[in-house]
């Protein structure tokens, strides 16, 4: 049965492997035919900044674009982005700088299950 999974990320892409975990969980859910939504805030916005080039570990931004191409919806909090000097137009393809008020509240109300990846 197709359901909607919301994954809520609050860890930065270079802090630990949380954002890699989110990518693996999202891929597995897409493979099972579920709808996947990812919302990042706090440090969880950092994976969407375009132009990042990690040398010795996965490029989460690129992986998020691939997830979006498979139908995942990826949104991060604009306030948290602005606090870190990241502005609309600087996000990787397939992701969106949105808001808790408009996007996260909608995602929460529509999700069948929510998983928070945070420390």
């Amino acid at each position: 049965m197709k359901r909607t999974l919301l994954i809520h990320l609050r860890s930065g892409s270079m802090m630990n492997m949380d954002s890699n975990l989110v990518v693996k969980l999202a891929k597995a859910a897409l493979d099972k035919g579920h709808n996947v939504r990812i919302f990042g805030y706090g440090e969880g916005i950092t994976p969407i900044k375009e132009g990042q080039e990690p040398k010795r570990f996965p490029n989460v931004g690129k992986e998020l674009t691939e997830l979006a191409e498979r139908g995942a919806t990826i949104v991060v909090c604009e306030t948290c982005c602005a606090a870190r000097g990241i502005h609309r137009g600087e996000e990787v393809k397939g992701s969106k700088i949105g808001s808790l008020t408009n996007d996260l509240s909608k995602f929460v109300s529509e999700a069948d299950r929510i998983v928070t990846i945070a420390r």
């Binding site: 359901r3 693996k24 969980l25 891929k27 859910a29 299950r113």
Partner: protein, 99 residues
Amino acid sequence: MASILFVMLKSPHENVNLELASDLGGQSKKAAILFEDAVYYAMDKKASKHLAEHVDEVFVISDDLAARGFDCDVGGKFKTVDYGQAVDLIMQYDRTVTL
């Protein structure tokens, strides 16, 4: 019967309040799923005993065990799963709480 799946990411040697699982879970069916360094719970006798006191089942991500050099030999209440099975568990339990 209500059910809760506790998502765990941190190692047993970090600050993790396992009592919360009993406090929040009450009479619900309670399970834990171990990602990243939380898989060390499965390999540390004292930590695994402590965790097993608070939940009915423990699922351990096999990829994360292997990434840390452990083979997948866990026993008792502990069971290895892959990411696809993790998604199924998330959908099967009523809700998740991250500890």
